[in-house]
């Protein structure tokens, strides 16, 4: 039976590693023994969010502790990180496959929810930074908006066959709500990377150029791998296209996430088997790339005073933004969204970390590392909050809900 709501972002859908995972919505008392009996105990299955496992591991391997990921190593991994970010963008783009009016409504709900979260966090952080007088190299509005984007990402967890429809819908919205932050993030990265005085008009132009570059590479790659003679040749073309997406974005001071999302969107809408081919190829190395991103993010963290100050408002106002966004989206589009959408979206996933890592590449010493550290800490705190807030199976109605009653 097809599973229409497969989670396809961080973990790329059901693959051997994802199969047979435990349900993290179990009560803690039952969850722990179950985790210990499974691969989740080693972080090999997403019963616990990957960030919870690999970010602390990255911190341990980083310059502050073991030094395996020394600053020199991290500098040389920048190029690989850009490719990893582009791969994430491709996943987000391919998740934007809108086949029905219900999908478009879900995209609208996701945009409403993410824009409200961005507004909550940006406004609160902007206000606090102004009051605190925190010395920042980057402009205060830019820092606030960056944190808002980092907070907007969400992950509703893995969908299983036994998951109720509300959970499935929330997961689909969690996939779709990444599009708007990545689009706005493209402009933010252009502003952060600019060596001149930041101008919004330039940023918008660069956002357009990033999309254009992503589209061009996607077309070129598609022409190549659609005509490949063998799977191996196709795989090489797809990997080459992905490297080109990440590398060109890094070279042009653009966002690999946005260029990747544009490419993913193109492959999804292109007739033929492009989406399927890319998905199958990316599945082979998506895990190493994501693990690498998380390890690098952990190793790049630095527990500064600024990061500690940014952490608390980020956690609090992200929670408020998610709940408010879910509440509003549920009322604007109540025929497709569950009433308690916000609580499902409390878990942050890893897109926020990925975006913060992208900003850190360009503005590490100008406050980027503080933003990354605060985002990583807030992500871990968000995962903990999600365990408390996300409705467990016991809370969920087993009968049809209003969502199920009005299928698209």
């Amino acid at each position: 039976m097809p599973r229409p709501f497969e989670k396809s972002r961080e973990i790329g859908g059901p693959d051997p590693i994802d199969v047979g995972v435990s349900d993290r919505r179990l009560p803690l008392r039952a969850l722990v023994p179950r985790l210990l009996r499974r691969r989740a105990a080693l972080g090999l299955a997403p019963a616990i969010a990957p960030a919870v496992i690999f970010v602390p591991l990255g911190v341990l391997m980083g310059p502050a502790f073991l030094g395996l990921l020394s600053p020199d190593v991290l500098v040389h991994l920048d190029a690989v990180v850009s490719v990893g970010l582009a791969a994430l963008g491709v996943f987000v783009g391919m998740a934007l496959k809108l086949q029905s009016a219900r999908d478009r409504a879900l995209l609208g709900a996701g945009c409403v929810e993410s824009s409200l979260t961005i507004a909550f966090v940006t406004g609160a952080v902007w206000y606090l930074l102004t009051k605190w007088g925190m010395p920042l190299t980057l402009p205060v509005p830019l820092v606030a908006l960056t944190l808002g984007i980092c907070a907007a990402a969400s992950s509703a967890g893995l969908v299983e066959a036994s998951s109720d429809v509300r959970h499935r819908t929330a997961t689909r919205i969690a996939d779709l709500d990444d599009a708007l932050p990545i689009l706005v993030g493209g402009a933010v990265v252009a502003l952060v990377a600019s060596t001149d005085a930041p101008r919004v008009s330039d940023a918008l132009v660069w956002t357009g150029r990033t999309c254009l570059v992503g589209l061009t590479i996607a077309v070129a790659g598609w022409l190549l791998f659609e005509r490949a003679h063998s799977d191996a040749e196709r795989g090489v073309f797809i990997i080459g296209t992905l490297v080109l997406l990440g590398g060109s974005a890094a070279y042009l001071s653009a966002s690999p996430l946005l260029s990747g999302m544009t490419a993913g969107l193109f492959w999804t809408w292109t007739p033929g088997r492009a989406e399927q081919m890319v998905r199958e190829s990316l599945r082979k190395f998506q895990h190493p790339l994501i693990v690498l991103l998380l390890l690098v993010a952990g190793a790049s963290c630095r527990p500064t005073v600024a990061a500690v100050w940014l952490f608390a408002p980020l956690v609090l106002f992200r929670l408020a933004g998610k709940l408010a966004g879910g509440w509003v989206a549920a009322r604007l589009l109540e025929e497709v969204t569950p009433g308690d959408l916000g609580t499902y979206l409390v878990a942050p996933g890893l897109l926020g970390i990925a975006f913060a890592l992208n900003v850190d590449q360009w503005a590490g010493a100008r406050g980027g590392t503080d933003i990354l550290t605060a985002t990583v800490a807030a992500t871990l705190a968000g995962e903990a909050l999600a365990m408390l807030l996300v409705p467990t199976k016991g809370d969920a109605p087993t009968e049809a809900t209003r969502t199920e009653a009005t299928p698209a």
Binding site: V75, L136, T137, A193
Partner: protein, 444 residues
């Protein structure tokens, strides 16, 4: 089912309401805190791929300055001070220029409504660049020239301060923040070496800069990572950096309203020339040119004495001696080591309060002791340092034969004319000095 849905909505709404209430409360609670001063971030990184390629050092320096601008310029203000404030040295034999251009002095915002700046003696603030409001001088440290300004309220950026326990290693580049008519500007300053010199005015070790004219006095010095290293001030032998910690300590004292009275011994001294040294038998020190008979040392010190020590410390310059005395609170017992008629002797005196008349605290004061010269005018007996008369270039022995519209003015006429003049106006003074006739400008 509807009951279940209703319950779910209620739970969600309750949770949202509770979160919003907590968030708003937290927002206002967190906004009450101020970010503490902290260690600044390290050097900035470049683009990911550009890090692998070498860049020209000067481009890197320019990029560092550019990043620094974004960090420190929000905390800097520029005030325009009038011409009276531009004459920070007194050179009686050099005729003052008729028109002095205004000067743009940088000020560092230390609080939302307060800034500090090193202002030239007698400076009056005309305006602030980029603002219609005119800052006012709240108080001034008369010894160090550090002024606390009341500036338009804006959120102050916390300034990271260089920890003086870490030496400012050289050679290195720093950036100086200077004032221009357009606003603050940063420019790199290469420090080949910095030598610690003890300065009596600041009661701390300053960092002497190699080479004069490195940056204007009053410029703030920042390390390239954004930390405030200090401010450039006049010191014996040339400009020096006052360490940021010392600067902040003094500005805190100013902000707390600590008393700023300065000590005075009633002595006017001048440097020891080789001829005077031979005549007095002193190898170093300062020679007394005038001892106020009613002052603290009127009975113990006389003209021609050489002061070569104060409280056991050697005296080498007029400025050093004056600063040392000025820093002593009135009522302090001080021991002066003198050379009189080739003999060494020690005298004690109780430091008095500087009546000085005109100084930093009373910039409008005339600062003259006059004696009537019948039919000729008034003879200048004494000129108080940092007074309007001193800035005009008057010196003891001058004969004032003309002031404003008055010819051969008596001392009372001079006092009255100066008192009645409006602030900022200029009186023309005709002076006979050693047989020559000169004209000076006396600015109120």
């Amino acid at each position: 089912m509807s009951r279940l849905s209703l319950g779910r909505v209620r739970r969600e709404t309750r949770l949202l309401a509770a979160t919003l209430v907590v968030s708003i409360a937290a927002l206002f609670l967190l906004a009450r805190f101020r970010y503490p001063a902290q260690e600044a971030a390290g050097t900035a990184t470049t683009q990911p791929l550009a890090r692998l390629a070498a860049t020209a050092p000067y481009e890197e320096l320019a990029a560092s300055i550019e990043r620094l601008e974004a960090r420190v310029l929000p905390s800097l203000l520029i005030v325009r001070v009038d011409a009276a404030g531009t004459r920070d040295t007194f050179e009686p034999l050099v005729q003052s220029t008729p028109v002095d251009s205004p000067r743009f002095v940088p000020a560092l915002r230390v609080r939302d409504d307060r800034a500090i700046a090193i202002l030239p003696p007698g400076a009056r603030i005309q305006r602030m660049i980029g603002s219609r409001e005119v800052p006012t001088i709240v108080t001034t440290d008369p010894v160090r020239g550090l002024a606390l300004l009341d500036v338009p309220t804006e959120p102050a950026v916390v300034t990271s301060v260089w920890d003086s326990s870490t030496p400012l290693s050289t050679p290195r580049y720093v950036a100086t923040a200077e004032g221009t008519r357009g606003g603050p500007t940063l420019r790199p300053l290469f420090l080949g070496r910095t030598d610690a010199i003890l300065d009596l005015r600041w009661d701390a070790a300053l960092l002497a800069l190699g080479g004069a004219g490195a940056a204007p006095v009053g410029s703030f010095v920042f390390a390239l990572d954004g930390r405030l290293a200090g401010v450039i001030a006049d010191a014996e032998g040339g400009p020096a950096i006052v360490p940021a910690e010392t600067l902040m300590r003094v500005s805190d004292r100013l902000a707390r309203g600590a008393p700023l009275t300065t000590g005075d011994l009633g002595l006017t001294t001048q440097a020891l020339t080789p001829a005077l040294a031979m005549a007095t038998g002193a190898q170093f020190g300062v020679i007394v040119a005038f001892a106020d008979p009613t002052g603290p040392t009127g009975k113990n010190v006389r003209v021609g004495d050489v002061v070569w020590g104060i409280n056991g410390e050697m005296v080498y310059s007029v400025e050093g001696f004056g600063d040392r005395v000025a820093r002593m609170p009135p009522g302090t017992l001080v021991k002066l080591s003198l050379m009189r008629d080739g003999q060494k002797l020690d005298v004690e005196a109780v430091v008095g309060e500087h009546d000085g008349g005109p100084s930093f605290d009373a910039p409008g004061g005339l600062g003259l002791v006059l004696r009537q010269a019948d039919g000729l005018g008034s003879e200048v007996m004494r000129v108080f340092p940092r007074s309007a008369a001193a800035y005009a270039g008057l010196a003891p022995g001058d004969l004032i034969i003309h002031l404003g519209d008055a010819s051969a003015p008596a001392p009372s006429t001079i006092q009255r004319l100066y008192r009645d003049a409006t602030s900022g106006s200029v009186l023309v003074v005709g002076v006979e000095r050693r047989g020559r006739h000169i004209v000076l400008a006396l600015t109120k």
